[in-house]
Each structure stands twice: as C-alpha cells, then as structure tokens.
C-alpha cells in the first residue's frame, strides 16, 4: 500500500469540506473494497478521510411510509433489521446473498453502492483498463470475459457492477441522498450508477465533493411476492454470474405491478421498463414470465466466453418470477432452487 494521510471527519459538513479541499482524497467507511484495491495499487488516494464515526447509522421511518437507511448502517445490521426483514425482505435476501458475514459486518450501506467492479483486469495493474486508466484500452473485450456484461456494455468497458443489495434497491425504486458543497440532493436509484460508454472510469453520478448520507426505500416493499435468486460458480461467497430481483403485486392471479432487476449482467443493476410493463395485467404464469424475459434480453450482446449468460438470465428470470408469484422466495441458507 502506498503512503497516505489519515484524517477523521467530525460531521457531514466537515467531511464535505475535507474532500473538496484535499486533492486525491477518498472517504473510508467499512473499507472492505477500498483497502483491498489499495493493497493492489488500483486505488491510490493521497488521503483517507475516515467517515466511519459520523452519525449516519440509523434506520428511520419516513413520513411517506418508507425507510431512510443511514449510509453507515452495516450490511449485516440492515439485513437483520426488523423493519427490513418484515417490510423489505427482498433487500434482506439480496444482502445475505453477498459477501461473507465478516465482510457484511464491516461493509456500509453507502459503501456498497460505490464499490468497484471485480473485473480481473481492473485489479491487475499490469494490464490495460479504461476504468483504471482512461484511454489505456480494455483487456476484457478480447480477454477472458466469462463473467462480464451482456447488456449495456461499450467497446471501452464490459465490466459488471458486483453488488447484490443494489439490485434489490433498484427494483424497489430507492433514492440515494447525498450532500456536497452545493448542498443536499436526492438521486433516483436508476440514475445513480452509470453505463460505461466512453467514460467507464466514472462509475456513478455522485459528485467528487459529495458524500452519501442515506438510502431511502419507498413505502411499497412487495413483502408478499418477491424473490432474489443468485446464480454463481459456488454455493456461497461468490459474485453473481446472473442474479435476479423480482417483486410482484398480484390480484386474483393477475399481475398489477411487476419489478424486475438483474445483477451480474451490466455495469449497473439492470431494469427494463418495457419488460415490466409487459407483465402488467398478465396472468402470473410461466408464459408471461418468458415473454418478459425475452423482452428484457432482446438487446443482449454476449462476449466471447459468456454466451451462456443469456440463457441463464432467461431461465433465472422465469424461475425468480415464479418463486415470487408463489410466495416461495429463494432461501440464502438453503440454496436448493425451488
């Protein structure tokens, strides 16, 4: 790890002032991804601003019936928070599908949003990577790209976003609250992460002097008909090849509203309004789910080694929607796929 300065922020305003005034500085909260990247010299901050003791660690009910989740709530605490378990089990299930308990105990809600891709070329400073060093090229396009994107990629970058929690938050239309030099603003979840385009080094629309203060989930939690299914190379503690968050509102077997978000397939949690619209008013049965899957995957462009992801995603979408419709969500402890 390179030498760096270390300082603690005393409050949110202090954190914003420090990040704006310090060239090359980064915030550190849980540190699980940042320190890992620093050990590999991928991240090379001049200064770490420790925000881990800021008062952003609570989960509060909002006036509109949702929840405001402080940016420093650890992933493990969030997954096991009584209100999340009861009203937003999709979020709980997605969190428990990711990482290990030790990492979830450290990783923060805000940090989960801004974690970097696990593309092996991004991690390997001996290779070209437009995300790590803009303009140097993408080693994955012609490299080993079994784990890479099939949707929304560009010729500059085919990396995927690694989060599970974010897939659930995307499905639920969460909002990201941030504060910067110009004050506070709210970013709809769909607008928080970016597609790579020709600027893959910019993962999110968070400003350079902004700090995430909270993530808000709206009142509608789809706690009855939901499922989070994660397909990976081993049963636990691995990143998704494909993951699906599905949530349905049903009336007499007919879909009133559907939410569908995919992980492991794109540079951001992937939602497709057309696929969700196509489910509305349809019978909650396999034929409807298959049509939605085909719609969502209509523009899928697999890489050399991940053609299997298109079929896998299609089947995972159908299975996850079926689980949601039956009220039999995927268990993250017993991985048998029902």
């Amino acid at each position: 790890m390179i030498p760096f300065q270390y300082t603690k922020a005393n409050n949110v305003a202090d954190a914003v002032r420090l990040i704006a005034a310090t060239s090359g500085a980064k915030f550190i909260a849980g540190g699980t991804n940042l320190l890992d990247l620093m050990k590999d010299n991928v991240e090379r901050p001049t200064t770490l601003i420790d925000i881990s003791r800021l008062p952003l660690g609570s989960v509060e009910e909002t006036a509109s019936g949702g929840l405001r989740i402080g940016a420093l709530v650890p992933n493990s605490d969030l997954a096991w928070h009584p209100l999340i378990e009861k009203r937003y089990p999709l979020v709980a299930s997605a969190i428990l599908a990711g990482a290990s308990q030790q990492l979830r105990n450290m990783a923060s809600t805000g940090g989960n949003l801004v974690q970097r891709t696990r593309c092996a070329y991004f991690y390997d400073t001996a290779t070209a990577c437009n995300k790590r060093q803009p303009g140097s090229g993408c080693s994955a396009v012609n490299g080993i790209n079994r784990g890479h994107a099939i949707l929304g990629a560009s010729t500059s970058c085919i990396a995927t976003h690694p989060s599970d929690m974010c897939v659930a938050l995307a499905a639920l239309d969460a909002t990201v609250h941030v504060t910067g030099s110009n004050g506070a603003r709210a970013i709809p979840f769909a607008d928080f992460h970016r597609l790579p385009g020709d600027t893959p080094h910019i993962d999110t629309n968070l400003g350079p002097d902004e700090i995430i203060t909270a993530v808000e989930v709206p009142a509608k939690g789809f706690a009855t008909n939901y499922s989070y299914l994660k397909i990976r190379d081993r049963m636990s503690y691995a990143f998704a090849l494909v993951s699906v968050a599905a949530a349905l509102e049903l009336k007499d077997g007919t879909i009133q509203e559907a939410r569908l978000a995919l992980g492991g397939v794109a540079h951001k949690p992937w939602r497709d309004p057309a696929a969700e619209a196509a489910l509305r008013g349809q019978a909650a049965e396999e034929a409807s789910f298959a049509r939605a899957a085909d719609l969502l995957l209509r523009d899928a462009r697999p890489q050399t080694h991940n053609g299997f992801k298109v079929d896998l995603a299609r089947r995972a979408i159908i299975r996850t929607l079926t689980q949601a419709a039956h009220g039999t969500p995927q268990s993250q402890s017993n991985k048998t796929i029902q």
Partner: protein
C-alpha cells in the same frame, strides 16, 4: 503495458506521522503508535505480539484473520488499526477464561475440526461470532454463515459439528 510503479495520483505530500491507537485486548488496554496504513491484523501480530491471528490471503477472502471487534466478527486484514482506536478486540488468545477453554475451542478438539490448524483461529473466532449472532441454527445455515472461512485441509464437516456442539444443537 501500464507502468507498475507505485505512486499516488497527486503531488507528493509530507510523509504521514504515526498515530496513537488504544485497543483493549484480553481485558487489558494496549497503547501503541502505527502508521495509517497498518492493518488491524498487522498491528495485532507485529505491534502487540499476538500471532494467533493468521494472515492468509490478506484480501478478505480466506477468513484466517477473523477476530471479534466489539463483539462482531470481521476480517482484521481489511480494516486499519487507526480506524479501530478505542475498540475491544478478541483474538484466539483471548477466548479462554480463567484457564478454561471457550466451549467452541473444546468442541474443535472434541470433533477433530482441523488438520494443519492455520485457519483454525479464524474459524473459531468466526464460529464464536456466529453463535453470538444467534441466527444460524441448521447445518445448512452454519455452512452458509461460515462461508467466509476457508479450510484448505477440508475439515468442514467437523467444523460444522463442533459449532453445533458449542451451540448445544448437536443431536
């Protein structure tokens, strides 16, 4: 090929100074000074001479460095000592009380839950954390919530049995 040279992205700054850190380990306050980039793992091993906690991958993937900080299990390789100032840290050296092994330490012996032993301090600290969480009960759940601890010797069935014994659920 990109230059492998290690350098920061901005102009050079004065070298950082050591920071004073106080940890409570084995019931005793230990005060020491470290540079900011020293991990909690390295601080325990190199500054406090507590070498029971092992360095495996040093990237949070193997779990050998698992310790309990303020009662919660974490990977000590992925946190900075300076960030843990004032914390209570329990390592494998601090589990036995009044000369008696922790029930999970005894269970690991009873079930022969290790071979080479390198992952064992992390496995036991992780298992103590798991039992304190009170969530994992069934063998499937124990396996899932112990997935952050890798055992190269493959002692997994005996590790699960040991944890079941310590939590009193072994039939």
């Amino acid at each position: 090929m990109q230059d492998r040279a290690v350098q920061s992205d901005a102009e050079p700054q004065p070298l950082p100074e050591k920071v004073s850190v106080t940890l409570t380990v084995k019931g005793t306050e230990r005060r020491f000074s470290v540079l900011p980039w020293v991990s909690l793992l390295d601080a325990l091993r190199d500054h406090l001479d507590l070498t029971g906690t092992k360095k495996g991958c040093d990237h949070g993937q193997c779990g050998a460095c698992t310790v309990l900080v303020d009662g919660r299990r974490i990977n000590s390789c992925l946190t900075l000592a300076v960030m843990r100032d004032g914390a209570h840290v329990t390592t494998i050296e601090g589990l036995a009380a009044n000369g008696a092994l922790d029930p999970l330490q005894q269970a690991f012996i009873d079930h022969d839950a290790f071979q080479c032993g390198y992952c064992t301090p992390g496995q036991i600290c992780s298992g103590v954390g798991l039992i304190a969480e009170g969530r994992a009960k069934t063998p499937d759940e124990i396996r899932e919530f112990m997935s952050g601890n890798i055992c190269r010797c493959g002692a997994y069935p005996n590790i699960v049995a040991a944890i079941q014994q310590a939590m009193g659920t072994r039939p």
